[in-house]
């Protein structure tokens, strides 16, 4: 079996790519996709740890995370549609009605 360090590093890198995507992309949809990347990175960590622990807990958690991701996607896309109807933009930097 491949060392845990390898899997954890891979997970950390994908996580960081997701983090970077949230910050560098101004399209809300792409930001949201980047968040999905972060969640997947975490899922990878759960699976890798779980299989080394020999416990199913990790896989069950991933199952739950997928459900949460689905729920988040439903609500998040709903919010994006709602905001697009009002403002006709999906750019984070156009949404600065409230500041300071």
């Amino acid at each position: 079996m491949i060392p845990l360090t390898y899997m954890m590093s891979l997970s950390a890198i994908i996580f960081a790519i997701g983090v970077a995507g949230v910050i560098i992309r101004r399209n809300i949809l792409v930001m949201f996709m980047s968040i999905e990347l972060m969640l997947n990175a975490v899922n990878l960590a759960f699976i890798a740890i779980g299989s080394r622990l020999g416990s199913m807990d990790g896989q069950v958690i991933v199952f739950f995370v997928m459900t949460v991701a689905a729920a988040e996607a439903a609500v998040g896309l709903g919010i994006i549609i709602s905001i697009f109807r009002n403002r006709e933009t999906v750019h984070a930097d156009d949404l600065t009605l409230m500041r300071w």
């Binding site: 845990l4 996580f15 997701g18 983090v19 949230v22 809300i28 930001m31 949201f32 968040i35 972060m38 969640l39 990175a41 975490v42 960590a45 759960f46 740890i49 779980g50 622990l53 416990s55 807990d57 990790g58 069950v60 958690i61 739950f64 995370v65 949460v68 729920a71 988040e72 609500v75 998040g76 709903g78 919010i79 994006i80 709602s82 905001i83 109807r85 009002n86 403002r87 984070a92 949404l95 009605l97 409230m98 500041r99």
Partner: protein, 498 residues
């Protein structure tokens, strides 16, 4: 071995009865609201209020029980009961504030009230969780519904914007929390709180890198939910944009639930590795108090100001956490007083608010004392309590937390905190000045036609004074609640018999 070992689950219904009541109520409200017009949603609100009250009564039944239920997924102790009760109180106040507000602003009633109830369910789960996955799911249930609630005034651009900002940062933050859970799972081999507690208490962990990184990530994740600096940036915008009852619900309910889970995980289960997180919380507490208070000084919008004030109060609470296990009861007591005070303050904000934006500026409070002496008096009580002026609840809470922290030797942090409360006096007093010493402002409309709102203001004011003047029973129950959590999850935690 059959994988379906049902005997391993101890079905104990009483502890989750309140949760079931809230869930069923949410669905009932949804169904009942199918044909209800948006401007006539008061009936749904009353139904919500009634079911919350029923859940409240059932929750009282948990008091005095210790143990875990459902194969360790649910902790049954006074700690969860304490937080569930306070969360239910916060929800009831929110409904009382919403009755007229929702109808006037044509907020879809069925969705609004059922989402509120779903959110309460998530919060209560966070308080009652016995493993990290239930905490996570409770947090998501709460957050996802609150994202929607923040944006439920769909025609209002600010409301939209609040929802998307909260959603993006909330989901972003979920990633960090989940990462933390994964790493802690790796370090301890379990996600159940009791076994985690035992594994850490045995001292075998040392400075396991997985554990350390996991603690760090979880601090970040929870830090976001309690709006700690530097994870606080969302709070002012979201508080400003969300419908005001939802803002109140976020400022109180979300914070209560987040602190419930934060305290349970860190001050109970991670207590034995306190050296690994107390320093970080020390720094975050200092930043949070200072940042929140200093920026609050220049705010002109009352909701924004209260948002920064809420950040500052999170700082005082984090101070208690940083000071270690001994200040646990003080934190719980502080949260209780904070709940009533903040709910009251937001109720007054709603009373001044009218369709659209009017009433949200601090200048709108000018001359309120002359026009509505009692409303202004109540607001004065809330502001004084937030400032920490005796004999209000806020003072006793601050005094309690600070003196516990002092006793643990956190002199520097307490000095920072006391200086911060001096600064905070300035912006709270700014509103007092506007009410009592200036003229102008907005007229308050139809106060007499909004009995629920008036009741919310009055009850919150009474509670703020009562908890401050006669705090003994509340301090006792806070201490009892906190100690029950530390006792129930030790190695002697037992599965409750049905």
């Amino acid at each position: 071995m059959s994988p379906f070992n049902l005997a391993a689950i101890n079905f104990v219904w009483l502890p989750i009865l309140p949760l079931v009541v809230v869930t069923v109520a949410a669905m009932a409200v949804l169904l009942a609201g199918v044909r209800v017009d948006d401007s006539e949603s008061e009936g749904l609100g009353l139904l919500t209020l009634a079911s919350l009250a029923v859940a409240f009564v059932f929750t009282l039944g948990i008091l005095g029980q210790y143990g875990v239920a459902f194969a360790g997924a649910i902790s049954v102790d006074s700690f969860s009961a304490f937080f569930e009760l306070v969360i239910l109180i916060a929800a009831m106040f929110t409904v009382m504030m919403s009755l007229d507000y929702a109808a006037e602003n044509r907020i879809p009633g069925a969705e609004y009230y059922s989402l509120l109830l779903f959110s309460v369910l998530g919060m209560m789960l966070m308080a009652a969780a016995g493993d990290l996955i239930v905490i996570f799911l409770g947090l998501e249930t709460m957050s996802i519904t609150v994202y929607v609630l923040a944006g439920i005034m769909r025609r209002n651009a600010k409301s939209n914007e609040a929802a998307i900002k909260y959603f993006l940062l909330g989901a972003f933050s979920t990633g960090f929390l989940l990462y933390g859970i994964a790493l802690v799972y790796g370090a301890t081999g379990t996600i159940k709180l009791g076994p985690i507690h035992d594994a850490l208490a045995s001292g075998a962990m040392g400075s396991n890198p997985l554990l350390l990184a996991g603690i760090g990530m979880m601090v970040i994740g929870f830090g976001f939910k309690v709006a700690a600096v530097p994870f606080h940036m969302w709070a002012p915008d979201v508080y400003e944009g969300a419908p005001t009852p939802v803002t109140a619900f976020m400022a109180v309910g979300v914070k209560l639930a987040a602190f419930a889970a934060f305290i349970r995980v860190f001050m109970v289960d991670f207590a034995s590795v306190g050296a690994h997180w107390q320093t970080v919380l020390w720094v975050i507490a200092a930043l949070t108090m200072t940042g929140g208070n200093l920026i609050a000084v220049v705010q002109t919008n009352i909701k924004r100001m209260l948002a920064y004030s809420a950040i500052a109060h999170a700082g005082y609470l984090l101070l208690g956490m940083a000071a270690g296990v001994r200040s646990g009861p003080a934190i719980l007591y502080y949260l209780l007083g904070y709940t009533f005070t903040n709910l009251g303050a937001f109720s007054v904000v709603i009373a001044l608010e009218r369709r659209g934006e009017a009433g949200n500026q601090i200048s709108d409070f000018r001359g309120l004392a002359a026009r509505q002496p009692l409303l202004a008096g109540a607001m004065a009580i809330f502001l004084l309590s937030l400032t920490g002026v005796p004999p209000m609840a806020g003072f006793v809470g601050k005094f309690y937390i600070f003196s516990e922290a002092l006793h643990q030797g956190y002199v520097g942090l307490v000095i920072i905190a006391v200086l911060n409360s001096v600064v905070s006096a300035y912006y709270y007093f700014y509103v007092l000045v506007a009410m009592y010493m200036q003229e102008g402002g907005v007229e308050v409309e139809r106060l007499s036609a909004r009995p629920a709102l008036v009741a919310a203001v009055g009850l919150a004011a009474l509670a703020t004074i009562l908890i401050g003047v006669y705090p003994q029973p509340y301090i006792a129950s806070a201490a009892n609640a906190f100690h029950s959590a530390s006792g129930a999850e030790g190695s002697h935690s037992a599965a409750l018999e049905p």
